[in-house]
Structures are given as C-alpha cells and as structure tokens.
Symmetry: C2
Subunit: 710 residues, 2 copies
C-alpha cells in the first residue's frame, strides 16, 4: 500500500467527516489538499488515470467550464507524461471523470456566488456543482488528488463535500510601486485559482506610478508610468482571464492621498501647486486631491466613467488611506471651505470627499470600497471597509453595519512566516460580534504591496505563503500540526510551480547571478538558513533603494520560511529533549555545524570574485561563529562537562551579535543556539529535577532578552 | 591579480591583435566574450564600476540608444546590486562610460547595416560606433566585460575593434507547430541581441496552426489557431521590441505546401476539396495551394497587402519547401493547366507559382526569400535562397548569382551538440566560390522548428547552443579548444538567464514535476549524463505524441551537451593516458561509478511513487550496469590483472545494450566505457609498445561497431 494512500485511510478512520463545522478538534486533511475541504471521507478503491482516461460534461456547459476541463487535462498530462484525449465523451456513464454542473451561476463573477461542490471517486470520478464557479473549484481539488504508486497514476477513493467559509477571498497586487506585466498577473491568477481565491484586488495607481491607459486623460500613462502601464485591451484580457477562473477583479485607484502620479500628469487636481515628480522612494507623500473644487469631481467622474465599463465587478476601491492632510492644512482656500461648510476637520473633509465619490460611483453602477480610514461618521452604509490597521476596525465596522474584509495580519510584504499569517482568523471565536453582525465579515485579502518586488521575485513573496492564507479564508478548521502544515505547503508549492509560478526556480537564478555563475551550493546552504527581516526593517537596512533599484540581493532570493532554520530548531529540540543522554540528533547537529564552517570559507572565496556577495560575508561569519558555538556546546554535553558563566556570557554575546540583522537578513534560530549554550551550562541541574523541568528551565533561561522569534 | 584578469593579460601577450583576419592561428578570446570580437587588445588598468558610475551619450542620440543604455544600466545594477543613476551626464569627459554614435544608421533595421564599433577602457570607457545598431552591439560587449574581484566591480583595461563577418545572422522560430506567446518571443529577442544576432525569422503558419490575426480573412485565426495567435497589435509590439535591439523581423508564411491551416479556414485555396482539419502530428502533409486559379493569387495578394505594412523588413519568406505534389497530380484541372501552359512538371509549376508571388511581393515592396526548393530555372534573381538540404544548394545559388543564407548544419531542433553546430561554417575555406560569388553568401540562420518545444522548454533548446552559432556568424575565427569553448558557453549561459531566459531554471521545474516534488538530486545526476536522441529519432521513440501532448518527459529536461558525459570521457582519457600506472583520475572515476549504482537505487524508489519516471528506470539500470563495468575495469587495471575475452565480450554486450536509446535519451560516453573495458583486457600489450601506441590501439579496438559519438 503506498504511503500516501495509507495516510489517507488513516485519516479516514480517525476522521470520518473531517471538521465540517467546528474550529476545534480539527485534523490536517489527507494528501496535499490545500485549502482543506469542508468534509472528506476516504474509501477503498481508486480510479486509475491512464492514456485512456476520458472526461464528460453534463448539465450546463459553457466556455469557462470547457476551457477549465481542458486546463485540467493539460495539467494531468504534464504531471503524468501521458497523452490524454481532449475530446469529451458521451454517454457520461462511460467516462472516467464526469463533471455535472446544474446551473451557470454568475457568468460574470460576483460576490455571493455558490462555490460549493461535491466530488466522489469510486467506480468513476463524479464532480457535482450548482454553478460553473463551483465546478471550477472542484476541478482544482481533483487536480490536487492525483496520486501515483507502483500501480500507476490514480485518483484515490474519496468523497468530498466542500464550500467556502468566506465569500471574499482576495489577493491585492500593487503594481503602482513596481509594475507587473500581464503575464505576471496571469500566472498569479492561475495560482489564485489553484488555491480557490476569488478576488484579485488590483492596486493600479500610487505615488510611484499610474498603470492604466486612459484615453480621456492620456497624460496619466504618458507622464506618470515610465511607459509601464496596461492598455485597455490588456485590462480586458486580464479580466477575461480571471472570469474564466471565476475570479473577480476589483480595481483600486487610491485617492485622495497616494495620488502623486495623477498630479504629475494633472497638477490642477492637487491641493498645492505643482509641478510634481513621480515618487521614487517609499512612504507617505503629501500630494492629495483638492476636495473643494468641482473640477476634481468632474475629472474623477469622467475617469471612472471611462473605466467602469472595463471593470465589470460591482465593487470599486477608492483607497482612502494615509492622506497626511498637510496639503489641505496649508491651503487657505481649503481651510476656508471647511469653515464655510462647517466641516470639523481633515477626517470629516475626507468623508465629505467620499460622499461625493459614492454618488459618482453610483452613477456608474459601482459600490464603494476603501481602507479603514474611510470609516468615519457619515460614511454611506453600502461602503465596504478593508481593515489594514487592525482587527478592531473590522469589528467596529461590522457593529456599525458595514461589510468588511480583513487585511491586517495578511500583509505578506512584511515578510512574516506562513504559520504566523495562518494563525490570523478574520472571525475568531473570540470576536465580540452577534451572528448577524458576523455576516458583515466577508472574508479577507492578502496584500502584496509592491515596494520590494519585481517580476522576477514577486512570486516568491506571494507563494506558497498565500496558499496558507487561502486555506484560512476557505476552510473551517486550522491545521494544529505545524510540521504537517509545512508538509502540505511544500506539496502545494511544487504544484504551483507546475502551473507556471516561478517562486522556486527564480531563487537559483538570483543565487547564480550573485555568484557570477560559480557553484551556488554554499550560498544556497546559507540562503536556506536565513529569513528576510520582518516588518518595515528592510527600508532601514537599504535606505538608498528606490523603485529603480536592483532587487537582486540575497534577501530577494530567500524564503520567509527558512527550512534550514526549522530543521535546526527541531534538531536542537530533539537533543535537549533527550536529556540527560543528549544523543538524539547529535550527529546531525554536528554535521550541520561543521558544514557552517565550510560555508564561511566557501563564501569568503566567492566574494573575492563576486563583490555583490560582500554584504553576505558578515552573515557567513555569524553562521560560522554559531557553528563553532554549537560544536562547543555539543562537546560539553557529550563529555558531561558544564562550562562556566564566563564561557556562557561570551557565547551569548556572540549570539547577540549574530542575531543582529545584516544585509536585511536574520537567522531565525538563534534562540535554539542560546538553548544549546544554556543547556551545556545547566547540565548539573539535571541531578535535581526531571528532564521536562530541566528543559523548561533551559528554555526560560535562554529566552532572548530583547529580540527573537521562533 | 584576479584569475580572470590574469587570463586576459595572458592572451594579450600571446595575441596582440586577435585573429582579425584569418581563420587559422586563432585563439579563444579572453573573458567570456561570445561572440569573439574581431580584434582585442588588453591593457593594464581598470575602470571601476561603483554606485557613482555615470554614463554619457554624444553624437547621435535616439530612443533606441537611450533605452539601450538604460537596459545596460539595469543589467549592471542587477549583477552588481548597486544603485546606479539613469540620468545621463554632461560633459561627457566626466562620465565613466561614454557612448559616441556618429550617425543613426537605419532607423528601421535593414540588411547591410554598419554594425561595427570600437570599445576602449582606459581612464574611462569609450564606445564609438557609426550607427545606433553598432553602438547597441558594443553595449552588449560592454555588458559581458563586467568583472569583479576583491577590489570591487570593474571593466578591465581593453581595446576592442569589432564588426560582423556576415550581415545576415538569424534565428528561425517556428510558432506553427507550438505557439510561443509574445513574452517568449521577447525574451528570445533579448538573448539574440546579447549574442549579436540580427534577424528573427518568424515562421508564422504551418499545417498545425495559423498564428496571426487577419482582419481581411479572420477565419484564419478563428478556425486554424486553437485560439493561439498574435493580434496585429502584438505583431507590431514584437517588431518594435526587435527594432529597439536593431534586429530585423522576417515573416514566413509557408506556401504552396505546409498550408493545412490556411485551407482549414479557406478550403477553396487548396488543390483538392475539403474540409480539412488542423494537423496534430508532424511530417509532410498533402495540402497545397491551387496555383492555377486566379482566386488563389487574389487571396494571397490581399493577405500580403494586409500584412506588408505590419512587417517593415524588405524581405518576405514564402517557404516553398516540402510540397509533395500529390494534390497537384491528382487534380485533373491542374494537370490540364500544366499541359496547356507547357509547364514541364510539378517543380516547374511551383516556379510558375513563385513567379506570380514575386510580382505580388513587388507590388507590396517586398523581396522574396524561400527554402532551397525554390531554386529552379526561371526563379527571379532577386530571390534569396535559404539552404536547408545541404551546403551545396548555397554554393549552387551563389554561382547562379542568388543571395543565400545557410541553415543546413544549424538545425537546432535535431538536438546535436553545440560543438557540432559550431564546426559548420557558412563559407568554409574549401568553398569553391570566387570572391565575387562568395559575397552572395549573406550568413546563416539557426532554425528552431517547433515540433518538440513549448514555452517551458524552448529556451533550453535554443540556448546556450545558439550563442555558439552566433559566434560562427559574427566572428572571424574558430575556438580550437573545445574545453575553452564550453567554458565560455557556460559563462554566456548564466548571462542569458540573467536577461530572463529560462533554459537553466526550467530544467529543475521539469525534474521536480517528474519526481512529484521529492528530492531531485539523483534524477539530476542521471539527467546530466544523458542527451536527447539526435536527428529525427524522437518521433520514433514517442510515436503517440502530437502538438497537444506533454513535453514534460526527462528528454525535455536535459541538455544537448551533457556536462556529465564530457567529464566522464575526460576522466577516462586521463586514466588511460596514464598507462601503465593508471592512477590519474582513478579516485574520481571510482566515486562516479559508485554514485551511478546509488542513482539506480534512488530512481527505482522514486518511480514507485512517481509513475512518470517508469520510462527512466531502464536508463538508471543501464547507468548502474555501466557503473559496475567501470568499477570492474578499474579493479582489473589497478590490480594489473587482464581479464579474458569472455569477460570482455560480456561487458561489451552490456555496453551495447546501454548504448541503445531509451525514453528518447542516450548516453554519449559509452565509447569511453568500451575503452576502459578494452584497456583492462589489453594491459599486457603495454610490455610491447609505447603508452601512446597502446592508447591508440585501445581507441581503435574500442571503436563501436555500429553506433556512438563522442
């Protein structure tokens, strides 16, 4: 019996209907399924996938479904190497896979779509759905179910009932700071479909660039895009590509702040006289629309009137964030306007602005969405609030009767780990909301802000982490086993690459560029052990960077979830958990620490030929220092010699140095190294306490004084 | 002194002006320069590249040059990680790099452009050119000159005078069999520019697909493209992208044969009644235009009239190859036409067809180009002949006064090695042509026929091999040192990847897909030791494949130039050349052979979970068998025990089995394994002859009876 099938059946026993309702008592789903279905029941048997495998469509059939099935066939071909027929079979009873779709659902994707489906693999594979969108979601599950063993490829016997927990499951892509060409957006849409996300929130303008072609206001793209913008045909092409995958596209044109690019082209829109230049740095800029002039609204009306037919979604994101109000304060005419109208302050002025926008949007058939700053007294109730400053604003909005979408906790540009994002829930059991209020929580969005990504690196910043967030939005429960969570994430990661994503392959490209083509093995060892600095630290580490700078540093090549760090921490835990023998994992740790010394030597040599590696050598030095400390600690533990406090203090001081970020990178396992040091020193205490007590003591003594995260 | 600079200076001593004229006495160029410049002189000194590096343009400046300089700056940034200014400096004297362009040259690229340039790096870097095209060529050389050492990045002191040997240096990309989206064509153009190719020959229609949008005849793309075609905007976009790089785009619409896609849409064009279906298999099909009907020419006239303004180049490729004549023979009206007009045979009828085409092309301002079948009595002298059936037709054409371009020997779809293509010269010293006739040889074209490539694999089929062909077309001499040739090719290969090519990165994607995400190391070891079968053998190995089949087999992941095979052969040569001691390279060979046994075990395990690997296990078995044979032979040599004839015959028989292609792959080092076997058996002969005589005897006895190539 193949291991995977065994695993599947194991779960089937433990978990006849897996966690359909509750968030508690939830177990990880079998196979690599991500997001986990609402209910899974495994059965014996299998449906072989061979060169003779056939497909049938019954019920409603449209172009989305037909091309969706062709996509699945092509992907099964790619994985199996088999030549499959794309010709659909009749009658359905004779087909290997039958997709039965009861209705078309929304032919243009819309909020509130029925995305449920059932999938049964017994004598044949039968996928049932009420809508094409549901069928497309089921096809992605079917793709993930493909297994192989000595008997060939097959779909395991299984019965799945599935539906999403939240109706709004989005990914924001900011193309304002760095432009992402059509082919990049398309591959992100492929990946989104693979993990059942259904909203592309396309952030199309910002201080650093205006990214769409306007025929009414052509200076926008001519003067404020550096030539990097989407033509209207390209916008339509992307939106149709999304529609084929039942993904909505919500455009964002941020205003009244974040508008430097608009006022580069049309300075008369601003609240202070121009001329303006495109922002190249990052942060909050002063430019803001003048909300007191009729011409401003006439312009916005004409612009939205031009764009509204291109974007069929009912929602329109007006941004509304981070307007610092400086231009408004400094402009006497605006201050006079405030006084005259009895407007309280800048916030109220922005609400006034938003109220005008609501009218304009209505005229063009759109509902307003905005960042949580727009949640001010007087905001029309139909507005949707996107919470970025914290979960509280989502709860506040829901209590006041506004629909809301959570992005706080899903800022993937901050380079936090997949597990940390996964831990955030749009609607935790602790949320202080009535069930009626809770229905206002529509879901969430991961946000790929564009300061530090370009077409070569963006995939590795979005994926595979966003698959974890997608599971959070789709599935009812949470995987309690971090190791299994990362195992499933690794499966999805390789699957995404098969769909054309570049997050794995491009890492090596960056390493080869850094080494100038030489052997990348030592650099890869180091790269696997570090993580990018979290939050907004990178800007401090590389203050000279602008939108025109090179995203080709080591930090651009490494994952937010260091596999080497996870492995090192696990080994250290095994060793210290094996007190007082300390033999478990000893050899692996010794080999690892020894390798770190070799890595330093190799990288030092490489840096002499590849000066781009010079910023990396201090990290290699740190790694070697930690290797030496680790070997020392291991020797002390195996010889049962407890070193003294001076030794401990020297080692801890060295580890403090290693813990300091360098080249915008950090080692996320320094605390484990501290525990090894403390463990060596504290050996004697094992005479007076149980191994578990001792382990807790070591953990507590080793807790870093100021920093650290593991 | 850094190794690379030392190497540079070494060559400077040996080669004050490198091989500017002659093909003999030519030495490999220093650094990674490919194609090699006509003349290189190294000097001491260096121009540092730092964050303060600046650029200036003097003389003629246009958008091509300005964006070309920006591209260079971005690439230098990527490699160095430095933030460079894109603002050009004045005065030029204070800039790090000065580009001085004396005239614009052809603003639309055209045959006969002056592409020469000089580049001097002393106190500053000065690039001089007569045309923008020449300046762009020089900028690519400058990009290749970037070096680094412990002192930082720099351009070494150097003086280069350079110009191309041939004016027509092309790459054909066939998008008929497999479509290649715009972004693929653009990255191929980037790579072409990097190695100074100047013609994209775009094969846009064939039996398997019609790939451009016609507004006059929309059924062409609607019925005959599977939805995979270029809009007219996309064609213009690609042509402008090429123009920016001083690359001509010559379209090919193959006729009167290879026209199944045309007649799927418009069956009335064919010489036999329809309906027709798109070809899915490969080979020669019967469909041919009816050359006797006026309506055929009217259609072609209208079509070319629509397309001619889109393609600005003076040349228009009409194909003209592989018309099997069956439809013409079977059509009584065509036979009656032949009789009536006194046309001799099908060849003459095709010449008649071509004569009509020449008139149509003239009308639209185009000169005809075609495959060498069109070289028939009566062909207008202005036609350009592309020789694919052999070098003879190029010579015949030149003698008759026709311009010609060589493609025989540059069919990169046949999966021959880079060195074998490099050995072919469009105008070898042995060519029986007067110098006047020789001027008709315009150059050559590598041909990427599309049967076995898709967007994921095409780069690895074109690159880096085509860089070798590009050197053949540009440079005067030939690198006599195969090892150095491959060293330079490896440098170029990594450089091309930096420009966005995917030939290296996608190999791992294919391996990960084959293993289902498991560790790919053992599969990579095997992949590095095999090469795709050469010539047209793959069709025989995978007869079930069509244009819709999966190009995701191991053969799609491996290079035509197995680095592992080259290394194995080199080691075996070292060992046998070290007779009678046989100690040189012994340990390396032993480690290698032992690893081959482990590879079999690992791949057998992997195949149990990844059935797509089943076709690979026989290769793993062969590899293990060769590993055992190798270890046996090594043992015999080191123990000075000569095995008997029965041992030899059993080993040679096993090697014969290993030499047979499997899964469309073959081991290119089997002859070396035979030499080890023969060497072991023939040890005794060392008593009676010199080591050199003995080595020759082993080589001769080991020469494979039927097959083999190394």
């Amino acid at each position: 019996m193949p291991r995977t099938l065994f695993r599947l059946l194991l779960f089937a026993t433990v978990l006849p209907v897996a966690a359909a309702a509750a968030q508690v008592n939830w177990s990880p789903p079998p196979l690599g399924l991500m997001p986990a279905p609402a209910a899974v029941r495994a059965s014996s048997g299998r449906v072989p996938i061979t060169a003779g495998t056939t497909f049938a469509l019954t019920g409603v059939v449209d172009d989305r479904l037909r091309t969706g099935v062709t996509r699945l066939i092509v992907r099964l071909q790619s994985r199996t190497g088999l030549m499959l027929s794309r010709t659909l079979t009749t009658p359905a009873g004779s087909a290997t896979v039958v997709i039965n779709c009861k209705g078309p659902g929304f032919t243009t994707p819309a909020l509130g779509e029925d995305e449920s489906y059932t999938l049964d693999a017994g004598a044949q594979v039968v996928l049932n759905a009420n809508t094409v969108a549901g069928a497309l979601r089921g096809l992605e599950t079917l793709r993930q179910l493909l297994l192989g063993d000595a008997g060939g490829f097959f779909i395991p016997g299984i019965s799945i009932e599935d539906r999403p927990r939240f109706p709004w499951r989005g990914l924001l892509i900011d193309v304002g700071r760095h432009f992402e060409p059509v082919e990049v957006i398309k591959r992100e849409l492929d990946a989104m479909a693979a993990v059942k996300l259904n909203v592309l929130h396309w952030h199309l303008s910002d201080d650093q660039g205006f990214r769409v072609e306007s025929r009414k206001f052509p200076k926008l793209q001519q003067l404020a895009s550096d030539g990097d913008y989407y033509t209207q045909d390209q916008l339509r092409d992307v939106i149709e590509y999304a529609r084929q995958r039942a993904i909505r596209v919500v455009p964002e044109f941020d205003m009244p702040g974040h508008v430097t690019s608009w006022v580069v082209a049309y300075p008369e829109l601003a609240s202070a006289p121009g001329p303006y230049e495109l922002a190249r740095k990052f942060g909050v800029f002063d430019a803001a629309f003048d909300p007191t002039r009729k011409e401003t609204y006439k312009f916005i009306d004409a612009f939205i009137g031009e764009m509204a037919p291109i974007f069929p979604d009912a929602y329109w994101h007006i941004g509304g964030d981070e307007n610092n109000g400086k231009q408004w304060q400094a402009n006497p005419k605006i201050q006079a306007f405030i006084k005259e109208k009895g407007i309280k302050d800048a916030h109220a002025l922005q609400t006034y602005f938003n109220q005008q926008l609501v009218g304009i949007l209505h005229k063009h058939g759109k509902r307003m969405m905005g960042w949580d700053e727009i949640l001010q007294l007087g905001l029309p109730k139909e507005a949707v609030i996107q919470s970025w400053r914290g979960q509280k604003s989502l709860v506040d909005a829901a209590k006041q009767g506004y629909d809301g979408v959570l992005s706080a906790g899903y800022y993937i540009d901050l380079m936090n780990t997949a597990a940390s994002h996964y831990a955030v829930d749009p609607l935790p059991p602790t949320a202080d909301l009535t069930s009626a209020e809770a229905t206002h929580v529509l879901g969430g969005e991961a946000t790929m802000w564009g300061e530090w990504v370009d077409p070569e690196t963006i995939d590795s910043r979005i994926w595979p982490r966003t698959a974890a967030i997608a599971e959070r939005f789709w599935s009812t429960g949470q995987d309690p086993d971090v190791d299994d969570f990362y195992r499933r994430l690794a499966v999805v990661s390789v699957e995404l690459e098969e769909l054309g994503l570049t997050h794995l392959r491009n890492a090596d490209v960056l390493l080869r560029r850094l080494t100038g083509g030489a052997d990348v093995a030592p650099l890869r060892t180091l790269a696997d052990l570090v993580e990018p600095v979290k939050g907004y630290q990178r800007g401090g580490q590389q203050p000279w960077m602008t939108t025109l700078g090179p995203l080709t540093h080591l930090v651009d090549a490494v994952s937010t979830d260091s596999p080497g760090a996870r492995a090192t921490t696990a080994l250290a835990n095994n060793l210290l958990g094996d007190a007082p023998r300390f033999s478990l994992a000893r050899n692996e740790l010794e080999a690892r620490f020894t390798q770190w010394l070799e890595v330093r030597a190799a990288i030092t040599r490489l840096a002499d030929q590849s000066p781009a590696l010079r910023e990396v050598t201090p990290l290699a030095d740190d790694l070697a220092a930690m290797g030496e400390i680790g070997l020392d600690a291991l020797a002390c533990l195996s010889r049962r010699i407890a070193p003294d406090a001076a030794w401990r203090d020297a080692k801890l001081a060295a580890l403090d140095r290693a813990a300091r970020p360098k080249a915008a990178l950090e080692f996320p396992f320094v605390t484990s190294m501290r525990e090894l040091v403390i463990g060596a020193v504290e050996q004697g205490q094992l005479a007076t306490m149980s191994p578990a007590e001792w382990r807790a003591r070591v953990r507590s003594l080793a807790a870093p004084p100021r920093r650290g995260r593991e």
